[in-house]
């Protein structure tokens, strides 16, 4: 890490854009949608000043395919959007996964289904962690809960993307994107592209032609490709990360991610001050899911409560993590209502007091 400059007071969306630039992102493609417009607006000048490329695409469909094209050329490229726009990107994300192309896609999750609203939501958890588009594939998914995490995770996202030659999603939300916090910018000492020069398209000079594709028609070829992809997804599991907070003596472990995880942390802190034995596991990666710490806690006899701003999505992964040992209750904060820390205290106390 190079010398740290002083902190700056910025929105989460800007933190994400600045993190991408620090990560060596050279191409940005995007289409306007609330609540992430600060990102393309910032990038429209900042990435040009950094010597990169900015295109306001005709649609999210096109933006994601521009990402695919820049990735094929071995560049660090970014597109950002929010839920309805990310739905439109799923075609390209599937092709990128099938063709093993790196790229970072940010989804500042808003309410759905359909046009929903422009407020905070975690309704895209399934879309993000189950592939989202067609076919058997997975994308790494990072979930920031603070502006600083938005910055830091962008640097991590590009590294993971090139390390595994796979699309990486950042699943934020309207709260993370729109709130302002102090952020400490930093730059990695070195940009590591994990041998991209050996597979990217650069013109077949002094070597045979290269082909990046997801079509495998020969007998057994697609099965082989799918086996290879599944092995890669298995290898990704070492990247699972979570914040484990006050869980050692906890009777009840709350599981929550992103901005909701952070709000729940405030609730847990307040209940701890009252002497209540409650802890928090906040997944920082949603795929791979951090099942190991949850399973270890289940082995110690903890009870679980999953809190999400949706109608129950991540709770399925929590249950899978502790299966055979424990179960998880669920408390859903309905998208469309902005949550505060008071909203979760009652739900936690209700489970604690059983």
């Amino acid at each position: 890490m190079s010398a740290k400059p002083s902190r700056i007071f910025i929105k989460g969306n800007e933190a994400i854009a600045r993190g991408a630039l620090a990560a060596g992102c050279t191409c940005y493609f995007g289409y306007p949608i609330t609540p992430q417009n600060d990102i393309p607006e910032f990038m429209s000048t900042a990435i040009i000043e950094a010597g990169g490329e900015f295109v306001q695409a005709e649609s999210e469909v096109a933006a994601a395919n521009m990402l695919l094209g820049a990735a094929a050329a071995g560049h660090r490229a970014l597109t950002t959007s929010s839920s309805p726009g990310v739905s439109l990107m799923q075609e390209a994300i599937s092709y990128m996964a099938g063709s093993e192309l790196p790229g970072v896609i940010v989804n500042m999750n808003r309410g759905g289904p359909g046009l929903g609203d422009i407020g905070s939501s975690q309704g895209d958890y399934f879309q993000s962690t189950r592939g989202g588009g067609h076919g058997d594939y997975r994308t790494l998914v990072l979930a920031p809960g603070t502006c600083q995490e938005g910055y830091d995770m962008m640097i991590e996202a590009f590294d993971l993307s090139f390390k595994y030659r796979n699309p990486v999603l950042m699943l934020g939300d309207a709260i993370v994107g729109q709130m302002k916090e102090p952020v400490t910018p930093w730059s990695p000492e070195k940009i590591e592209n994990y041998g991209a020069a050996d597979w990217c398209l650069s013109g077949a000079a002094g070597r045979g032609p290269r082909l990046l594709k997801s079509l495998f028609l020969d007998d057994g070829a697609l099965a082989g490709q799918n086996r290879h992809l599944q092995q890669k997804y298995e290898a990704m599991k070492v990247e699972a990360r979570a914040e484990v907070y006050e869980c050692d003596d906890a009777e009840l472990v709350v599981v929550a991610y992103g901005s909701i995880g952070r709000i729940v942390k405030s609730s847990v802190r307040r209940l701890r001050a009252e002497g209540r034995k409650v802890g928090l596991v906040r997944p920082l990666t949603l795929y791979p899911f951090p099942d190991a710490p949850l399973r270890a806690l289940a082995e110690k006899g903890k009870r679980f409560l999953t809190i999400e701003q949706n109608c129950g999505q991540m709770v399925e992964d929590v249950r899978l993590s502790v299966r055979g040992l424990a179960d998880s209750d669920f408390h859903g904060h309905m998208p469309g209502n902005l949550p505060g820390s008071d909203d979760f205290v009652e739900a936690i106390v209700a489970r604690l007091g059983r």
């Binding site: 050279t26 191409c27 493609f29 490329e53 295109v55 695409a57 005709e58 649609s59 469909v61 096109a62 933006a63 395919n65 521009m66 990402l67 695919l68 094209g69 820049a70 990735a71 094929a72 050329a73 071995g74 560049h75 490229a77 075609e91 390209a92 092709y95 063709s99 398209l201 650069s202 013109g203 077949a204 000079a205 002094g206 045979g208 032609p209 290269r210 082909l211 990046l212 594709k213 997801s214 079509l215």
Partner: protein, 259 residues
């Protein structure tokens, strides 16, 4: 190719960039001719080792099996967006898409129009054979009125399906387009003209002038249910009257005061 023990002299060879393997295309299909024109122009312009080919969906998805250049497969219709991303990342490379009429004029209409309008420094080879070939002969946006396909078995009806889309005219009307021409592959004369147009379109990219577009009227004898000779005749008698050949835009000619 050259027999050693006679007086024959090789005057016409296959460009080295063309892979030495038979194509999967049907007898009388014009993709082989179009591929060869691309290969010849890339070779003559010295671009082979700097080329990024953006393949599309349709029969020509396998263009990468026949041209020994770096290539990536784009989702259906998205080749101009993929090409935009590749070219913006590598401005020093030559980037072209190769797309059929279903790919370019139907599902990919937004991508082609906006890439052209932005003046992306890419080149587009548009093969128009008025039908979806790979999927088995369904109606395309360029299917002629009255033409029978598997999804308009009674013939395309202007009242219900609209008129065939004239892409070159649309592309020529966009600000970022530097060159737009419609050519045909039905005769030797037209093939020679097609090659000249292709070179012009490619030069718009190598000279950093703007977007280059060539529409090639082409035969699909299998899905037209015709032999190759009749298919060529159909291009001349039915397609060209509706899709007139010519250079619809050439900003270099305009600058020279020529048209």
């Amino acid at each position: 190719m050259q027999s050693a023990n006679n007086n024959e002299k090789l005057v016409f060879d296959v460009p080295e960039v063309m892979a030495d393997r038979p194509t999967h295309y049907c007898p009388g299909c014009h993709h082989g001719v179009a591929h060869r024109l691309v290969a010849e122009v890339l070779t003559e312009m010295g671009l082979v080792q700097d080329t990024l080919c953006i393949g599309s969906i349709g029969c020509s998805v396998f263009i990468y099996n026949y041209l020994d250049v770096d290539a990536v497969e784009a989702p259906h219709g998205r080749a101009p967006a993929v090409a935009t991303g590749a070219k913006r990342a590598r401005k020093d490379k030559f980037v072209f898409t190769y797309q059929g009429d279903g790919d370019l004029a139907s599902i990919g209409l937004a991508e082609i129009v906006h890439a052209a309008n932005r003046g992306e420094r890419i080149s587009v080879v548009f093969v128009n054979n008025t039908v979806y070939g790979m999927t088995g002969g369904q109606m395309a946006p360029t299917t002629l009125v009255g033409q029978k396909t598997t999804t308009c078995p009674g013939g395309r009806c202007a009242e219900h399906e609209g008129l065939p889309i004239k892409m070159t005219e649309i592309i020529a009307g966009l600000g970022g387009t530097a060159y737009a021409a419609r050519v045909s592959l039905d005769s030797v004369k037209h093939i020679r003209e097609a090659k000249r147009a292709l070179r012009k379109a490619f030069e718009m990219q190598t000279n950093n002038i703007g977007f280059g577009f060539v529409e090639m009227l082409s035969a699909c004898p299998t899905n037209w249910h015709m032999d190759a000779v009749s298919a060529n005749r159909r291009i001349a008698e039915e397609m060209i009257p509706y899709f007139p050949l010519g250079v619809y835009k050439d900003v270099t000619a305009e600058a020279d005061g020529k048209e």
